[in-house]
């Protein structure tokens, strides 16, 4: 049996259900189970299950795509979240149950495709099947009487016509009638098999792709360079089969980062229109090249792809001790908080001053004050920039071995000295200005404001394969849905003074133009024989 046992073609009467209640041996049971797994119904139900199982992942935040959302969800739904977690609802697409469904589906798929491929292979090399006894029982059927012709001549013409239409033909003659059996559209089944096999290809390529690749993120400030090595990434996630030697040595220097904001359209003032990162890249052993990275236009370098995924401001901050010695000098990336790029950043000063000092900074590219006097940014570009710092002293918590984010300050063991709920106002700095830290601890200067770009570097050696399989699937789909597969039989029987011809056709799969095709064949056949209607 080539197709699944419960496969039906249009116009085909459903075969009788199998007899039930027969005692089966172990082999019988196994065979029965296999037939169930590879049946159309199972494939269908698994497909529907897969669709349903995918839904929760669009409702509950997922660790893979939205880790902060998950944290927030735990905070908001403290009772429910652990339960959802128990059922892997924050990792739906790698969960045991989701994997089980698609793995079963693919087992079913392979189990279904192998026998079909074998059968199709035989069909491709074999001859069209024998002509049925009663042609008038087939879904499309015509007959004609052709006085003054001989069956031999009629059937020869029929064979010719069918061959011309690229049917594969075979004669099945008996003493009472001459018949030709023809079939075309083998490509339909080929396409169908290609489609299903290509799906397996996609799955395998996707499965392996993650394993050999890596993704890493790195924030680069204007003027800074970044080299492709493990230590220079801010975050790095390697695939299972990744080895650090896969990192091609290259470097990227961010020369300039340019942003463009809408200025004229009153409905969209301040909306970003363009981000451009001008970079100089250098692959070891060759000359540096100037290149451009844009959103939607990644840089392909050294087998990896570099994407521009974010940007913001990095104030250049210098801190001096009371004697005027520099204890800290860095460009500090501030994380954007809103559309107008109000940004937050942190400076940690564990050594050099009399106490450990932490600064929480707010940056306003175009500052404005609300009614309450609180600052906000009213435009994302650098028109009137201002940084404010709240100063904390105490224990920065850097010595307890717990890794700390450079973007966050743990204030639990710190005392706030400036800003709200303290006696002193927060420090306010415009570029080029210096402010004194409280208690004569030293000074802070804002030297300039630069921009930073956050770059994502990915390598996925199999994504080309995924695309190739996906395109193969589309090609297979098109052939299998739109090439009709037909069997046609023509029989010629001698009568007194002539021949009676019967034409019949059967479609495999959906075929809306079956009878038209048969009529066309009959017409062509008639004119080929030079018959004129009486």
């Amino acid at each position: 049996m080539s197709r699944p046992s419960d496969h039906i073609d249009p116009g085909q009467a459903a075969p009788a259900e199998e007899v039930r209640g027969v005692r089966l041996g172990v082999v019988g049971w196994l065979r029965w189970a296999w037939r169930q797994i590879t049946s159309m119904r199972t494939a269908l139900i698994l497909l529907l299950l897969l669709a349903i199982a995918a839904i929760p992942g669009s409702i509950v935040p997922q660790r893979s795509s939205d880790p902060n959302g998950v944290t927030q969800y735990f905070a908001d739904n403290a009772d429910l979240a652990p339960w959802l977690d128990r059922f892997q609802l924050f990792d739906v697409y790698t969960s045991a149950w989701f994997s089980a469904i698609y793995l079963l589906l693919f087992i079913s798929l392979v189990g279904c495709v192998i026998p079909r491929a074998k059968h199709h292979w035989d069909a491709l090399r074999g001859a069209p099947p024998a002509t049925p006894q009663n042609l008038n029982r087939l879904p499309a059927h015509l007959s004609a009487s052709m006085p003054g012709t001989s069956p031999a001549e009629v059937i020869a013409a029929a064979e010719r016509i069918l061959r011309r239409d690229r049917y594969r033909v075979r004669r099945y003659d008996t003493s009472e009638r001459l018949t030709v059996s023809a079939e075309r559209g083998y490509l339909r089944e080929t396409g169908n098999l290609v489609f299903h096999v290509a799906l397996v290809g996609v799955l395998i390529a996707v499965g392996f792709g993650g394993g050999f690749g890596f993704t890493g993120q790195r924030v680069v400030v204007e003027g800074q360079a970044f080299t492709n090595s493990l230590i220079s990434y801010d975050t790095f996630s390697p695939g299972r089969f990744f080895s650090a030697t896969d990192l091609t040595p290259f470097s990227i220097t961010l020369d300039k980062f340019t942003t463009l904001y809408e200025e004229r359209n009153v409905n969209a003032v301040g909306q970003p229109i363009d981000y451009t990162a001008d970079v100089t890249t250098e692959v070891r052993g060759s000359d540096p090249i100037k290149q451009v990275i844009k959103v939607n236009d990644p840089l392909r370098i050294g087998g990896a792809d570099v994407y521009l995924l974010g940007n913001g401001y990095a104030p250049a901050v210098t801190v001096r001790d009371p004697a005027g010695n520099v204890v800290y000098q860095e460009m500090v990336p501030f994380l954007p908080q809103d559309r107008n790029l109000t940004s937050v950043g942190v400076v940690k000063l564990p050594d050099g001053l009399s106490k450990q000092v932490g600064l929480i900074g707010f940056f306003y590219p175009t500052v404005s004050a609300g009614h309450s006097g609180a600052f906000f940014s009213m435009y994302p570009d650098l028109l009137d920039p201002l940084v404010t710092f709240n100063v904390y002293v105490g224990d920065l918590g850097l010595n307890d071995g717990v890794p700390r984010s450079v973007y966050a300050l743990d204030t639990s063991k710190l005392t706030k000295l400036t800003g709200t709920k303290t006696d002193l106002p927060s420090l306010e700095l415009r570029p080029g200005e210096t402010a004194q830290l409280p208690n004569g601890m030293g000074s802070v200067s804002l030297d300039s404001v630069k921009r930073f770009a956050s770059l994502d570097v990915h390598r996925d050696p199999t994504q080309g394969w995924v695309l190739a399989f996906a395109l193969a699937a589309v090609a297979g789909l098109l052939t299998s849905l739109f090439i009709p597969r037909r069997r046609v039989w023509i029989s010629a029987r001698a009568t007194s003074g002539g021949t009676v011809v019967e034409y019949a056709a059967l479609a495999r799969g959906d075929d809306p133009t079956l009878s038209e095709a048969l009529t066309r064949i009959a017409t062509a056949h008639g004119s080929d024989l030079g018959l004129v209607r009486e």
Binding site: D6, P15, M40, P61, S64, N296, L477, D510
Partner: protein, 326 residues
């Protein structure tokens, strides 16, 4: 200048909606009138017995006439309604083009514009398919759905013309979104035909059992098997477009976000829809699922398309926050 253009666009869209509303009423009357008329189709089916070109064959007798080719006259009401739909389409086309010119880009970059272009395509698919087959009976559905979506778009989703954010500046926006709306157009008609098929099946059962039915108005329409064939032909075309949407979306995601697939909400729903329709195609070839059950699947599939287009766009969180609504 651009403001004037977008105002003309809105005006033109409102005119289109008014015209669609008339078409909708006419289509509905035409359906309702069908109840009084007896099927005149049966007579027509014999006429194809000899319909083979120049008739060079001496005697041709067709044993099983094929229901597919029954010519069925279109009533006057339906003809006027079709003409109105064409007219409404032209106005909507003008509205869409003006919007695009006003924005100097393709007019499908936020919810309002998706709705405008999407319904334009639904109408276009309906009109074109009607050049080939007489499916005027889904006109009431098609114009009704378009009206509903346009009404929602104009009142709830309207946004002024604004430039594209960098993430959307890509030719993949042109390809990916356009193909998705094409797919949606075919799925919409497939939905209407499957719904009609379900009702027709019900009427046919009642007729066999000689029970009274309020579905008499369906007598004039093709039988359920024929409706199913129409639906299937349209849905597989939609499915091809959807497959392409999925792939084009992945290619674009790779360029814009650095990964071709990340189970973002919109990606999830595109996948769900694709899987549902793959299920539909299988159901057509599965014993016990052809007919009513596969029709239900086609309807669920389109339900998911609409859900994706409205609810997911607006209420679900994800990277695809392009509704343009604040």
């Amino acid at each position: 200048m651009n403001d004037t253009l977008s105002q003309f666009s809105v005006l033109s869209l409102y005119s289109a909606m008014a015209i669609y509303a008339i078409a909708f009423i006419l289509f509905t009357f035409d359906l309702a009138r069908g109840a009084g008329r007896e099927a005149n189709a049966a007579a027509a089916s014999d006429s194809i017995v000899q319909a083979t070109g120049d008739g060079s064959i001496a005697t041709l007798t067709r044993v099983k006439p094929d229901a597919a080719t029954q010519p069925r006259g279109r009533g006057r009401l339906a003809r006027i309604a079709m003409a109105m739909t064409w007219l409404g389409f032209l106005f909507q086309l003008a509205a869409t083009v003006l919007r695009g010119v006003a924005a100097s880009r393709v007019p499908w970059a936020n919810m309002y514009e998706f709705a405008m272009t999407g319904t334009l395509i639904i109408t276009l698919v309906f009109l074109i398919v009607n050049l080939k087959w007489d499916l005027a009976f889904v006109g009431a559905f098609s114009t009704g759905l378009v009206l509903l979506l346009l009404g929602l778009a104009a009142t709830r989703y309207y946004v002024e013309v604004v430039p594209l954010p960098p993430a959307l500046q890509s030719y993949w926006l042109v390809i990916h979104v356009f193909v998705a709306t094409l797919g949606t157009g075919f799925f919409a008609l497939g939905f209407a035909l499957s719904l009609t098929q379900l009702l027709q099946t019900r009427r046919e059962y009642r007729a066999v059992e000689s029970k009274p039915t309020r579905l008499g108005w369906l007598k004039r329409l093709p039988d359920s098997a024929q409706l199913e064939n129409y639906a299937y032909r349209l849905i597989i075309i939609g499915f091809i477009f959807w497959t392409f949407t999925l792939i084009a979306g992945a290619v674009w995601a790779e360029k814009a976000w650095g990964r071709y697939w990340g189970w973002d909400t919109k990606e999830v729903w595109t996948f769900i829809i694709w899987t549902l329709y793959a299920g539909y195609i299988h159901a057509r070839s599965t014993r016990g699922w052809r007919g009513t059950r596969s029709a239900v699947l086609a309807m669920v599939g389109f339900g998911a398309v609409m859900f994706n287009f409205t609810i997911v766009n607006i209420y679900f969180k994800g990277l695809h926050v392009y509704s343009g609504l604040k």
